[in-house]
Amino acid sequence: MIGAIIGGVASIAGGLFGSSAAKKRARAAAKEAKRLQNKLNNLEENRQDIVNPFQDMSAMISNPFANLSVATGAAEMKIEEADISLANTLDTIRSTGASAGGATALAQAALRSKKGVAASIEMQEKQNEDKRAAGEKQKQDALMQEGQRVQQGEAWEFAQREQRQMQELDRTAAMLGASRQAQAQAQSDQTGAMTGMFGSLAGIGGALLANGK
């Protein structure tokens, strides 16, 4: 039946259908390779970012004691109180006609009080300086640790990316390789089918030439 439709000798019809099936397989394999390539391109373009759990957080490290202030409010109040107390006492001494020696003693007491306040401020400043230095050391230690952690993270991120890329490349190569192999096989089948038809073709060509002479 097929021979009657196509015409020529019988082997042509058989060869044609064999060749068309091979062509169809070759086209399907080529199409599949194209689809896979597009899919993999999309996966590569849109893959999720690798989140580095070791990301640099050194900007968050600071010395909490860097800017400690001295609590001078209380000291100033204490000085003020001493001055008021001195003034009041002097007024009393004057109104009661007490001796000048009492006034001198009072003035010395006031001076002592002020010296005590100054010493307290100095002590606070010293303590703050110590804290600042300790805080700075802690900060440097933390920065050092963070630096090491960040280096670890970079190595991890590199390894992850490398692993992921290798997986995708391997997969791409495997799938595309398979598709192209299928395509090549189908093309080879097609050539085989065509070769089978050449005998028949020679028939047509021979007749053509024979008529031509």
């Binding site: 020529g8 062509k23 086209r27």
Partner: protein, 366 residues
């Protein structure tokens, strides 16, 4: 608007598959002539033409300067048998798509009729009013012409045009992508299943389950079950899944799958018309195809190519829905607990009582 291709293709498909012709007395009582003899007819006068050209060249009686036209004519004729075979085999491969089970009925119905003729199907003989010619054209290309009752107007296909289409990875008749195969493979690629759940055939095993990473847990690390009513006062636990997390995980893979399909927009339309548009499957009876398949929401090859962006977006959305509803859902519903003691059937009333008591205990309400 009436979709002529859909109706005609459906008719031809049913006609070819129904065996109705066996009950046609006129057909049974007469003989049918399938003697189209495409090659014999095409090459009948070729010998004479070839001889004339050859003689003209050899006797220096050419019509054209330096015998250019005659030499070209000789070359075309010498190459034509091979070209005929190439053309016919490509054509048969293309028309063969109309026989695929998932063939999109929105393709041009004339190709279905041409395939029936090329395969000598009952009802498509010369006796039934059909005819086919292969013509060798002066420019070296060839054309095949199909005529007959199913064609209304002749179907003409030129070899150069067909070659150009095939070279540019375009099909005359589009083969619908195997969505079922693609989605079964996609299931193994979306990262929800452990490697040991994938069989040698690269599909999920019968016992495959989504990994526990996507199962809802209580704060104490135990599974957060949903209780289903089995009837007769009995119930059982089933796993609850973090659907939001699952969707987030699978979306990039689905998008990549769609991007792959978009490498051929013809394929996208075929997949849309046959499967995606109305959630249909290829197993549905052909009789239902008219209503069940895309039908009036079909995308038309002649009108909708190249695909507009809104259609691409719509396809991506519906493709995802199709995958989630028809392939992934079975793994997120009615999944029994992996902990043996939690998997047993229990008394619903007792379970409710125990749950209420646990609530009272947890909230210090006793």
């Amino acid at each position: 608007m009436e979709n002529k291709n859909l109706f005609q293709n459906l008719y031809l498909k049913q006609f070819n598959e129904s065996n109705a012709i066996a009950y046609n007395e006129r057909f049974v009582s007469g003989s049918s002539d399938y003697n189209f003899q495409l090659l014999d007819n095409a090459y009948r006068d070729v010998g004479r033409i070839y001889a004339k050209l050859k003689i003209a060249i050899e006797t220096n009686n050419c019509m054209s300067e330096d015998c250019a036209l005659e030499l070209t004519g000789i070359k075309n004729l010498e190459e034509s048998p091979q070209a005929s075979l190439d053309f016919l085999s490509s054509l048969i491969a293309e028309l063969g798509v109309t026989e695929e089970s998932s063939f999109d009925l929105n393709n041009n119905y004339k190709y279905t009729a041409a395939n029936s003729l090329m395969n000598g199907r009952p009802g498509f003989s010369k006796t039934d009013g059909y005819q086919a010619y292969l013509d060798l054209l002066p420019d070296g290309s060839q054309q095949i012409v199909f005529l007959g009752p199913a064609f209304e107007t002749p179907l003409v296909i030129n070899s150069a045009a067909l070659n150009a289409l095939l070279e540019s990875d375009t099909s005359l008749v589009v083969s619908t992508p195997d969505i079922n195969k693609d989605m079964l493979r996609l299931l193994t690629e979306v990262g929800l299943f452990a490697q040991d759940m994938i069989g040698e055939n690269q599909e999920l095993t019968a016992t495959a389950k989504i990994t526990e990473e996507y199962v809802m847990m209580n704060t104490d690390g135990s599974f957060d079950y949903e209780i289903i009513d089995l009837g007769n006062g009995k119930g059982r636990n089933v796993l609850k899944y973090d659907l939001e997390k699952i969707e987030k995980k699978v979306t990039p893979f689905i998008n990549a799958e769609v991007a792959g399909l978009m490498s051929s927009e013809q394929d996208v339309i075929a997949a849309w018309n046959v499967y995606i548009s109305k959630d249909t499957s290829v197993e549905e009876d052909a009789q239902m195809a008219q209503n069940a398949n895309a039908g009036d929401t079909s995308w038309i090859y002649e009108l909708d190519l190249p695909l507009q962006q809104d259609k691409k977006v719509l396809f991506e959305i519906k493709y995802k829905e199709y995958f989630m509803n028809n392939y992934l859902k079975q793994f997120t519903t009615n999944q029994l607990p992996t902990v043996k003691e939690d998997a047993a059937v229990f008394d619903l009333a007792e379970a409710k009582k125990a749950k209420a008591q646990k609530f009272l205990d947890d909230n210090d309400l006793n």
